[in-house]
């Protein structure tokens, strides 16, 4: 069985009068390398078949979806949805999910081969259709890992915004969805919102022919998950305030708004499904100020299966007031690192927004500062992407926006802004 451990990195010492406590919580799922029983996994592949997918993209999307089908282990329950301004379950014919075997894979791939690109784009409806498939499956197999892949190349143009919002809210919590944008006509913020709400990732696929390998990798990763529906359960004292709960690695994700109250002092934050992997969370709490020497528990963090209440691991974020400046002013290197990574993501997103709004001054300032942080923190990939948008004079540090920027480079930078690098080396505590 998968073992979970929690480690907390923080400097618990606060100067007298200070009230803000930060901790980086590292959750590691480990144990004997194994995959869960195939029958306990469910996969839905959602392919954008709107008219813009023609001109070759649809051919690559077909290959990608077929590769994903090939990657499903025997017994995994699956379906394929074709999405335009409506959503159609093109496999299996009967509507529900069916187990993967040689016959069902062949039938699914035949159905995928017949996909045509026409019609509009209404992603919320695709997600609602997938959610209904998963809900029906969950009623029979409550412990199944539920995962979807969504591929799109365009904007959500054929669904009114309120309907999209309602559909997205309907799907939330029912499955994890990894999203892929292909080409340059999709909107990063829109797809990021879907992935974020459904606890999945978003990535750009620059060339349609890269889709096949990417779909295969995503399906393999989904097959490696063994525990579904894990929540971070955070308790803070009655007089304290929980400022935020953010995932900071492998990608940034603000979970603060996802709280489900357990009791007056405790809330659950969903984290989706887990395989053998490590994720890190940044938690900040404001506590009432205490006397020198006093120690308090500022937060108790547990990893739980909300359905059963089973506690898988736990750790403390502590606060102790000190009059020793050497103790209380020390910043924990992990907290500093991830604070920097959050700042980097904000600078990139704000900078790109300002650039699109024509605010050259703000865009230059934000992206120039981001370039410096990326380099110092070792985000080499992000630094390279920033170099395609701005020029920085190495001698003076002066930044200047490039006049001509490849749209694909801008999308890649925006998409990858939330991906963080881990510290190269564990800091000495």
């Amino acid at each position: 069985m998968t073992d979970f451990t929690i480690r907390v990195d923080q400097n618990k010492y606060l100067p007298a009068g200070s009230q803000e406590v930060h901790g980086i919580v590292t959750v590691e799922a480990s144990g004997p390398v194994q995959t869960g029983p195939a029958a306990e996994a469910a996969e839905v592949i959602i392919i954008d078949t709107s008219g813009s997918m023609s001109y070759g993209k649809i051919a690559d999307a077909r290959k990608a979806a077929q590769a994903a089908v090939d990657t499903l282990r025997d017994g995994v329950h699956f379906a394929v949805i074709s999405g335009d301004h409506q959503a159609e379950v093109i496999f299996p014919g009967g509507g529900g999910l069916v187990p993967a075997d040689a016959g069902s894979r062949r039938a699914a791939k035949d159905a995928i081969a017949r996909l045509r690109a026409e019609g509009g784009t209404a992603m919320g409806r695709w997600l609602r259709r997938a959610a209904d498939l998963f809900s029906a499956h969950q009623a029979v197999r409550p412990n199944a890992i539920r995962h979807a892949i969504l591929l799109t190349d365009g904007k959500n143009e054929h669904e009114p915004a309120p309907e999209f919002d309602a559909n997205l809210a309907y799907a939330a919590g029912k499955f994890v969805c990894d999203c892929r944008g292909v080409g340059t006509d999709w909107v990063v913020a829109e797809v990021r919102r879907i992935a974020s709400t459904l606890l999945g990732s978003v990535m750009d696929v620059r060339k349609p022919e890269e889709l096949e390998a990417d779909f295969r990798a995503m399906t393999e990763a989904a097959m490696g998950k063994t525990v579904a529906d894990i929540a971070l359960r955070v308790w803070v004292p009655r007089s304290a305030t929980l400022n935020f709960v953010k995932q900071v690695s492998p990608a940034l994700e603000d979970l603060t708004g996802r709280r489900a109250d357990v009791d007056a002092l405790t809330g659950d934050y969903p984290t989706g499904a887990w395989g053998g992997e490590t994720r890190e969370y940044h938690i900040s709490v404001s506590v009432p100020s205490g006397n020198v020497g006093q120690e308090m528990r500022a937060a108790l963090v547990k990893l739980v299966q909300p359905a059963t209440g089973e506690v898988l691991a736990g750790g403390n974020i502590l606060a102790q007031w000190s009059d020793d400046p050497a103790q209380s002013t020390r910043i924990n290197p992990r907290v500093a690192h991830y604070t920097g990574q959050q700042e980097l993501a904000s600078l990139i997103q704000e900078g790109l927004q300002a650039r699109n709004d024509g605010d050259v001054e703000t865009a230059t300032a934000r992206l120039g500062k981001a370039r410096g942080i990326a380099e110092r923190a070792g985000n080499d990939e992000t630094a390279k992407l920033l170099d395609k948008v701005i020029d920085v004079d190495p001698a003076t540090g002066t930044a200047r926006l490039k006049r001509v920027v490849d749209k694909a480079d801008e999308i890649a930078l925006d998409t990858r802004s939330v991906r963080t690098v881990r510290m190269r080396k564990d800091p000495e505590s």
Binding site: D3, T5, I6, R7, E28, V236, P237, R238, S239, A240, L265, V287, G290, V292, G293, Q294, E295, M296, R297, A298, L300, A313, G315, N316, Q320, S322, D323, D324, S429
Partner: protein, 311 residues
């Protein structure tokens, strides 16, 4: 026997409703409320489940005496809990095959940056003192008994490690005082002093000089623990002093310690030393054990320090 009456300390059996000695109702021991907010919701780990405050433990100030020796441990002023621990046991002449009684003292200082240092130090002190006494009673010499005490204490601390966290850790110093001999054993920077006509520091800190960076400790991450063990011979009069760095950070000089500690009962001396450390700032937990030693004329005192390390 399953425990002791909380009022009078008499041993009571499991399932007994009342103490046979004082009549205390054993079924109704209310949990102590939180000292910060008054809520009756203090968890087993000592944090209030309402306001989060860590509760003071029974270790904030502890005093103990055995066979004329005394030890005092105090939280000090700046730490939220007492991470030091001590144990003091004695062995009567009839109990030891050598026919000489012995006093066994152990002082351990939990490493603050490790998890649950207070549990580590208490386990180490209790396990070591009990093991040394048992080995002496079985006929081992004090050095062999001391090594066995350290070995078992190291095992106890190492086995307290939990997956996913750093290892609990503590320092260790012990003394076996028997007849004209003093055997000290140590790991880390808790110290033993001889206080008398030729007062001296008996231990050498396992720490980088001028810092508090330990080079040896008890804990799962410590590797093989090899204590340093030495035996001294003396006629007295004087005292053996064991202490954590909460005392010697302020008063490292043997002569100053001797001037304060000698000429009074061990308990009074130990209390006075603790109070001096608190008045000097009390920045750390403070633990002091004083074992009086030797008879005779002060001017005739001889102390023979070993030339070679006995490790």
């Amino acid at each position: 026997m399953s425990g002791a009456c909380p009022v009078c300390g008499t041993g009571v059996m499991a399932g007994e409703a009342f103490c046979e000695n004082c009549g205390h109702d054993l079924s109704s021991v209310p949990p102590a409320p939180c000292t910060a907010c008054g809520a009756a919701a203090v968890g087993a780990d000592g944090y209030c489940e309402n306001c989060g405050m860590l509760q003071p433990t029974g270790r904030d100030h502890v005093e103990t005496e055995a066979a004329g020796a005394a030890a005092v441990s105090d939280r000090g002023l700046r730490h939220s809990r007492n991470e030091d621990a001590m144990a003091l046991l004695s062995l009567g002449p009839a109990e030891s095959p050598a026919g000489q009684g012995a006093v066994v003292a152990v002082v351990c200082d939990g490493v603050s940056s490790s998890p649950r240092p207070d549990e580590a130090s208490q386990a180490a002190a209790d396990v070591a003192a009990a093991a040394i006494v048992k080995r002496l009673a079985d006929g081992d010499d004090p050095e062999a008994a001391t090594r066995e005490g350290v070995r078992l204490a190291a095992d106890a601390v190492a086995s307290a490690a939990r997956p996913g966290e750093d290892s609990p850790a503590c320092t260790y110093v012990s003394a076996v005082v028997s007849g004209r001999h003093v055997t000290v054993g140590w790991v880390g920077d808790s110290r033993a002093y001889w206080l008398g006509a030729q007062s001296a520091l008996l231990t050498e800190d396992d720490a980088t000089p001028g810092t508090h960076m330990l080079t040896a400790w008890l804990g799962a991450d410590a590797g093989e623990v090899v204590p340093r063990v030495r035996t001294f011979t003396t006629d007295g009069p004087g005292a053996v002093l064991l202490c954590s760095d909460g005392l010697w950070n302020y008063y490292p000089e043997p002569e100053a310690l001797a001037a304060t500690a000698l000429g009074d009962t061990p308990l009074t001396a130990a209390r006075r030393l603790v109070r001096m450390a608190i008045e000097a700032g009390g920045h750390d937990n403070i633990t002091v054990a004083v074992i009086p030693f030797g008879q005779g004329d002060r001017t005739q005192t001889t102390v023979a320090f070993p030339k070679e390390r006995s490790d």
